[in-house]
Symmetry: C2
Subunit: 234 residues, 2 copies
C-alpha cells in the first residue's frame, strides 16, 4: 500500500509528548502506531536518509509504548509470555524477544527491560500487548500488576550519536553495553538511557519518564546537537 491520504485528527489517536516539537521541526507526514500519531518524514525520504547516514538524528519514537509488569509473580509471568530464555537477564539489561500466543503465533517483538527482580518494561512494537497481557494475567490469577506508565522514548541515531551523548551526559554513557540501560536525569528530566535504536548507525534511546517535559527534552537535545548538524529523523 502506498501513497498518502488526508487524515482527521481525533482524541482517540494520542499525541506524543514530542508532537508539537516535531510539527515545529517540519514533520510532513505521519502514521499511526500503537494508537499514537508518529512522524514518518521531514525533509523528504532521501534527505532524511542522508541526515541519518552522515550526521545525527533525533526521532520521536514515543509510539514504542511501555507495558510495565510488577508484582511477586512478575518474573514468572514475563518468562511465561516469551519464547526467549530470560534466566540471565540482569537488572539494567534489555533483551529483544518474541511474545508468542498459545499456538506459537507472534503477538509482538518488544525489548524486555529488567528494572528490578520483579519489575519489567516491555518496549513494544505495534500491537496491544497491554490488553493481551492483562487478559492473560486476569485469567491465570497470578500476582502481577500490569499498566502503561508515563514513559515515551526518544531516539538518537546516526554516526555522531556518541559524541552528542557524551556532551549531554558525560563519559559514563560510553560504557553502556548494547541494550543495557541506566536511570539518570538531564537538567532535571527523569530518564532511562539505553544503548539501542532502530538504525544500523547505532544510537541510544532516551526513555522520558515525565510526558510534560517532552518539549524541554527535545529542545535540550537539539540545542546540544547543533554542532553535529542534528536533524529530526524518522
Amino acid at each position: 500500500m502506498e501513497g498518502h491520504v488526508n487524515f482527521t485528527l481525533s482524541d482517540r489517536l494520542r499525541k506524543s509528548p514530542f508532537y508539537e516539537a516535531t510539527i515545529r521541526a517540519g514533520a510532513k507526514t505521519f502514521t499511526i502506531y500503537n494508537h499514537m500519531i508518529m512522524p514518518t518524514s521531514y525533509e523528504g525520504e532521501e534527505a532524511d536518509y542522508w541526515n541519518l547516514m552522515n550526521n545525527v538524528t533525533l526521532w520521536d519514537v514515543a509510539a514504542e509504548r511501555q507495558v510495565e509488569i510488577i508484582g511477586s509473580d512478575a518474573y514468572r509471568f514475563v518468562e511465561y509470555i516469551t519464547s526467549r530464555d530470560l534466566s540471565k537477564l540482569q537488572i539494567g539489561q534489555g533483551k529483544y524477544a518474541l511474545i508468542t500466543d498459545e499456538n506459537g503465533g507472534i503477538i509482538n517483538d518488544p525489548i524486555i527491560l529488567r528494572l528490578g527482580d520483579n519489575h519489567f518494561w516491555l518496549s513494544i512494537a505495534d500491537s496491544d500487548v497491554l490488553l493481551w497481557t492483562r487478559g492473560l494475567a486476569c485469567g491465570l490469577g497470578w500476582d502481577v500488576q500490569i499498566s502503561e506508565p508515563d514513559v515515551s522514548p526518544l531516539a538518537i541515531q546516526g554516526p555522531n550519536n556518541l559524541p552528542l551523548m557524551l556532551d549531554l551526559f558525560g563519559d559514563w554513557v560510553k560504557d553502556i553495553k548494547y541494550f543495557f540501560f541506566r536511570e539518570c536525569e538531564l537538567e532535571g528530566i527523569p530518564l532511562i538511557v539505553q544503548r539501542s535504536g532502530w538504525s544500523k548507525q547505532g544510537g541510544f534511546e532516551l526513555y522520558l519518564r515525565d510526558g510534560s517535559q517532552g518539549q524541554k527534552l527535545w529542545d535540550t537535545v537539539m540545542e546540544a546537537g547543533k554542532k553535529y548538524d542534528i536533524k529530526p529523523g524518522s
Copy 2:
C-alpha cells in the same frame, strides 16, 4: 484535538473491502479505527450531515471488526466478560453491552450477536478485544476458540433506509426488530442483515461475509439507492 495531517499509508493499517469504492465515491478524509482506514468525510461535514438527515446514506463501517467466539464454553465465556445479563439473548438477536476488566474498567462497548447456542460475534468499537479475550481465554483454560472472521459491516442510514432495504431484500426486512438479525444473500453475496446503526435516523447494518465482494456489495446498494438520492456517509 482538531485539524488534519498528511498521512502515510502502510500495510500495518488495513484497508476496508470498501476502500476503493469510498475513494471513487469521493472520500476526502480518513481516520484509523481498529487498525483500519475509515472515511470521515465526503462532500464536507455540513453536506454529509444533510444527506444523512434528509435522504439515505451508505457508510463504510468495516472498522467495526467482529470477534468470533465458539466452543463448548462460549456462552459461559461471553457472560464472564460482560456486565450485561445475557440469559435472555436469543439466537438471531444482538445486545449492546460493556466488556469490563477485572477492576470494572471498560475494555469496549460492542454489540454482542448470538449466532448459535455457543456461537457469538462481538461487533466492536475501537480497542483490541481480540487480544484481551484471547489472553483471558488462554489464562482461564476454558474451551473457547476466538478469532477475527472475514466480516465487514456496511451501514445504511437515514430516513429512507427502509424503502431502500425493501427494494433490496423484500418485505421480510420490515419485520426485523431493533438489534435482531438474519442471515441471507444478496445477488450471491453472503450477509447478515441487522437493524442497527450509528445514527438516530435509524438503519441497518449489512455484515459482509466475504471481503472479496466488497466492491460488488457497495455498487449494488448504490445502484438501488439512486431513486432515493443515496450518498456515501460517515
